[in-house]
């Protein structure tokens, strides 16, 4: 099915996944002004955490109704531990260092995580099959799989709880204060180190949810899966306005839809017949990033960077 409603649904689903991962980039950036380029690999380790639960812990033939929640827990534990560990041991010692140092560390950490999984996780050097939810539902103009339903519900639940948490909870208020003025936040009695850990942990949690959705939807995972997904999610975060949690989700959805529509329809434009199809999707996604950086560098919902001198 290649109808417009179907393409929009595909884009929305892909974009929700980008958005869930983008939260990790944007929350960490909002609080410590660090681009955690290892976040794609945190997403990847979440997928392997969930796979471990399914392949090595649960008995064969466990129903997916029971398996999926346990896989989510397993994935979340691994991704949160990796994210919090990265903060504690890789980034915190560099808190006062020039900005380039943590950035290079992030890239190194990203490679290290890939290699650890490739070398030590059985069969992870090639794609490992992940239990998928393939049952399809025909909704008239749109056909979706169970995995898609899981993804969209997960994204809505995660985003609305996060919005509520940040706005209404005491810790959420402390996060806003820390993002706006970390020194003054300490003067209020806020333990800003704890807030930073929480930001990394939420990023890890959301990445794990995205990772389980990814596995259920595509049916396999591999040690490199975090690279492109991470890069796209980072693009989504910048597109929406980095530092802004609503921007991350909006940026994800806009990017997902733009990429899907471009690869489906751009070859209908005279002279551009060669540029359609899935193989060009990444090109259009990154073209969009370049356009945004040129025309609206603060992103769709971003605040002016001059806000913080």
């Amino acid at each position: 099915m290649n109808t417009l409603p179907q393409q929009l649904a595909n884009g929305l689903l892909l974009g929700s996944m980008y958005g869930l991962i983008a939260i990790g980039y944007t929350m960490v950036y909002g609080i410590v002004q660090l681009i955690n380029f290892a976040h794609g690999e945190i997403f990847m380790t979440g997928a392997f955490g969930a796979l471990t639960v399914y392949a090595y812990i649960l008995p064969h033939g466990t129903s997916m109704w029971a398996a999926v929640p346990l896989m989510l827990i397993g994935g979340a534990i691994v991704a949160v531990l990796v994210a919090v560990g990265a903060e504690r041991f890789a980034y915190r010692p560099l808190r006062q260092a020039p900005r380039l140092a943590p950035l290079i560390t992030a890239i190194g950490l990203s490679l290290a995580l890939q290699e650890v999984v490739r070398n030590f996780y059985p069969g992870a050097d090639k794609a490992r099959s992940f239990p998928s939810l393939d049952t399809t539902h025909d909704l008239g103009a749109v056909t979706i799989k169970d995995a898609d339903i899981f993804l969209i519900i997960a994204a809505i639940v995660c985003m609305s709880s996060l919005a509520y948490f940040v706005r209404k909870s005491r810790t959420g208020r402390a996060m806003q204060a820390t993002a706006q003025d970390p020194d003054t936040a300490q003067l209020m009695g806020i333990d800003t180190n704890r807030i930073i850990v929480i930001a990394f942990a939420i990023g890890g949690l959301f990445a794990a949810v995205a990772a389980v959705s990814y596995g259920l939807k595509y049916g396999n995972v591999d040690y490199r899966m975090g690279f492109l997904m991470g890069l796209k999610a980072f693009t989504a975060a910048v597109l929406g306005g980095i530092g802004n949690i609503y921007g991350a989700m909006l940026g994800g959805v806009v990017l997902g839809i733009a990429e899907t529509l471009a690869s489906a329809y751009i070859n209908n434009i005279p002279g551009m017949q060669q540029l359609g199809g899935q193989s060009w999707a990444n090109v259009w996604a990154f073209c969009l990033l370049i356009l945004v950086l040129l025309l609206r560098p603060q992103g769709l919902l971003g605040e002016r960077v001059a806000d913080r001198a």
Binding site: R173, A174, A177, D181, T184, L187, M188, G189, E303, D307
Partner: protein, 238 residues
């Protein structure tokens, strides 16, 4: 009687540059003590060290009988030392009310917090009128009021005010100084850093003049106000 705050031979350095070069002073409960001096004298550095944002390289700080050696900033507030920083530093994208609530971040008594927010609105009615407005939209003087109100929300034993009159119009400055006088009359203990020496010394029980990291002169507010060298250097007389 022991002092509420006692600072002994405090030294603070930024890398190799020493900004505070061994100062000692104390603040008794109920007193207003002021540090005056020009830009770069080390006044703000002193306050930032007292509240834990900077680590001293040497010296002893005793607050309310407890040594503050390497205590992190967020724990010092809990001991009863509140700091209204230079340049106000209100949280611009939170509302006025949310800013005040953050001042009471460590308190659990909801009813008491609400009462104190009301007290802040009584002290500064303009804040009450704009309670739902983003704090970044306030004027400089209003932001100063908010910063002071926010610092008071932690029910401090000692309130440190850094340059509360900086950048304000003369009318607004008078208003802020009148508020400090009112807080003093209510028994609040205040450590006040000011460039406006005239205003600060008229309010203060004790004053210390700082020059390039050292205290060069100490006395009662009254004494310093009439001291010849202070009049020359800080009150614009020759």
């Amino acid at each position: 009687m022991t002092a509420l705050l006692e600072v002994e031979d405090l030294r603070v350095a930024y890398g190799k540059i020493e900004a505070v070069k061994g100062i000692s002073f104390k603040v008794d409960a109920g007193e207003v003590v002021t540090l005056i001096g020009t830009n770069g004298a080390g006044k703000t550095t002193t306050l930032r060290t007292l509240s834990g944002l900077l680590k001293p390289t040497h010296g002893k700080i005793t607050f309310d009988g407890k040594p503050l050696n390497g205590t992190p900033a967020h724990k010092i507030v809990a001991l009863g030392l509140a700091h209204s920083p230079e340049g106000r530093h209100i949280f611009p994208r939170l509302t006025i009310e949310e800013n005040l609530q953050l001042g009471a971040f460590l308190r659990k008594d909801k009813a008491g917090i609400d009462k104190d927010i009301q007290r802040a609105y009584d002290l500064f009615p303009i804040l009450g009128e704009r309670r739902k407005q983003a704090a970044g939209t306030l004027s400089g003087g209003e932001q100063q009021m908010l910063a002071m109100g926010r610092a008071l929300m932690s029910q401090p034993k000692l309130l440190m005010l850094d340059e509360p009159s900086m950048g304000l119009s003369p009318i607004m400055m008078q208003k802020i100084m009148a508020t400090i006088a009112e807080l003093k009359s209510q028994g609040t203990t205040i450590l006040l850093v000011e460039q406006n020496a005239q205003a600060a010394l008229s309010l203060a029980d004790q004053g210390h003049v700082m020059e390039v990291g050292r205290i060069v002169l100490s006395g009662t507010g009254e004494d310093l106000l009439h001291d010849e060298s202070v009049r020359k250097a800080y009150l614009g007389e020759d």
